[in-house]
């Protein structure tokens, strides 16, 4: 067993070890960045200013939020969220498309629905728009 291992290790030169370490670092940082950190990243859906739902972005789902004008459809897919459909006439929040980074928001004003991506830290207290 140990002989076998030593047999293999003798093929790993200094530079090989270096590249092994660097690439392992890449694996670890990719894992930390895409799998561990986003665990804290959630979507916050509010209706009429009241909290309607918070959910992880990890698992895809769709949800319909009833507002004064009708249903606003929100979709979460692959760490991103978007408003799929909304009864508002101008459709501004639907045109906004996917949001994924902490602090990004889409507001469906007429139907009083807002979706926000929450990260581990909030970079600002309020948004000027």
């Amino acid at each position: 067993m140990w002989d076998k291992l030593r047999d293999n290790i003798k093929f790993i030169q200094l530079g090989d070890g270096l590249i092994l370490l660097i690439s392992l670092g890449l694996v670890v940082s990719l894992t930390a960045h895409y799998w561990l950190a986003p665990a804290g990243e959630k979507i916050i859906i509010k209706r009429g200013g009241e909290l309607f739902l918070t959910a992880s972005l990890m698992h895809p789902f769709t949800v319909a939020i009833p507002g004064p004008l009708g249903l606003t459809q929100v979709e979460v897919y692959h760490q991103r969220a978007r408003v799929v459909s909304d009864p508002s006439p101008r459709q501004l929040c639907v045109h906004q498309g996917w949001i994924s980074r902490a602090g990004e928001v889409a507001i469906c004003l007429p139907n009083q629905v807002s979706i926000e991506i929450a990260g581990t830290t909030r970079h600002y207290d309020s948004l000027n728009y």
Binding site: G49, R90, G103, L109, S114, L127
Partner: protein, 334 residues
């Protein structure tokens, strides 16, 4: 390790949560967000509720096309020069708005309600349609302006029957000033008020200033961060707020009173207003003339409105700033 992070987060959350009271609501035809720091929960909840109730009241009073105080005034203007009794609360608003309109050389002109209606922006319903150019010309020729309104004691009338008030570029800022004064009077030392994007700061958020994100005109995230000092207000006019697209061209809700057409060539104008009793109002009003002036005339327009801190983003996404504004904005996000 992950457990540790979770523990630290719980502790941090435990420290910061109870001191901040935050309420989001949809009144004033827009999204209102009130955040209060360091006040007892009961007091924060009570004053917030009152502010939201006042906003709702103001919304009905100042609404440009739904039945209310302002729409009644508009009906009286049409009967020019027949006078009628004015609602007392409207007197300072009319005087104030007239003063800003004169200061802007008529580029801020709330009297062009008919023009805004013609463009379809006085409606909750969407229609991507250009108005008849002849109709625009006709409305322009009627030259409605704030100076046409005559206040005489408890009576008012208009010398021009074409005057129709639309306080869309004024009301939110005015409401900010009212709300800030009320909160201060109730002993609130630290608060952040956001009415449809116009923001005013009172005090600060604990040991750091209130921090606001300035919306990127084409992305769902902020373009820059700005720390607001006590009493400062920030406002943005953007072509992304209300607009329609037709033939690949964007027509936004900011209409140049001199041409009758939506302003072109600018994506957004942000103004930062120093503390004063009118800071909120000015944060709403001042961005419009600068937006309409465009890349060529924005500095002159800012000077005219007495605003030092301005950022303008042109149609190509290029950012222009005054030196004063450059010092305040932080573009290095995260």
């Amino acid at each position: 390790m992950r457990l540790l992070i979770v523990l630290v987060m719980l502790v941090l959350a435990g420290c910061s949560q109870p001191q901040t009271y935050s309420q989001e609501s949809y009144v004033f035809g827009t999204r209102v967000e009130i955040t209060i720091y360091g006040a007892p929960q009961a007091l924060a909840a009570r004053v917030t509720k009152q502010v939201l109730r006042d906003f709702d009241e103001m919304h009905h009073t100042l609404h440009a096309w739904e039945p209310g105080t302002l729409s009644r005034m508009n009906a009286v203007f049409a009967l020019s020069p027949v006078p009628a009794a004015i609602a007392p609360g409207m007197i300072p608003i009319i005087q104030d708005a007239t003063r800003y309109s004169v200061q802007s050389g008529g580029t801020f002109n709330p009297a062009i309600g008919n023009l805004i209606k013609l463009w379809g922006f006085q409606s909750d319903h969407f229609e991507a349609k250009l108005p008849d150019p002849a109709a625009i010309k006709k409305l322009l020729a009627e030259r409605p302006q704030m100076q046409d309104i005559v206040l005489d004691g408890i009576m008012f009338h208009s010398t021009n029957p074409a005057v129709r008030l639309d306080l869309g570029g004024y009301a939110k800022g005015y409401a900010l000033d009212i709300a800030a004064a009320y909160l201060r009077s109730q002993g609130i030392k630290n608060a952040l008020i956001n009415i449809g994007g116009n923001i005013m700061a009172i005090g600060q958020h604990g040991d750091r200033p209130w921090r606001v994100g300035i919306q990127h005109p084409r992305k769902p995230s902020p373009i820059a961060l700005l720390d607001l000092r006590d009493g400062e207000a920030v406002g943005t006019s953007g072509d992304y707020q209300r607009y329609f697209e037709l033939g690949g061209k964007r027509y936004c809700h900011i209409i140049d009173p001199h041409t009758g057409w939506p302003a072109q060539g600018v994506q957004a104008v942000t103004v930062l207003i120093p503390p004063s009793t009118h800071a909120g109002t000015l944060s709403d009003v001042a961005s419009k003339p600068i937006f309409i002036a465009g890349v060529a005339g924005w500095q002159a327009a800012a000077q005219k409105m007495g605003v030092q801190d301005v950022m303008l983003i042109d149609a190509a996404g290029k950012v222009y700033m005054t030196d004063a504004m450059k010092k305040r904005l932080n573009f290095k996000l995260n």
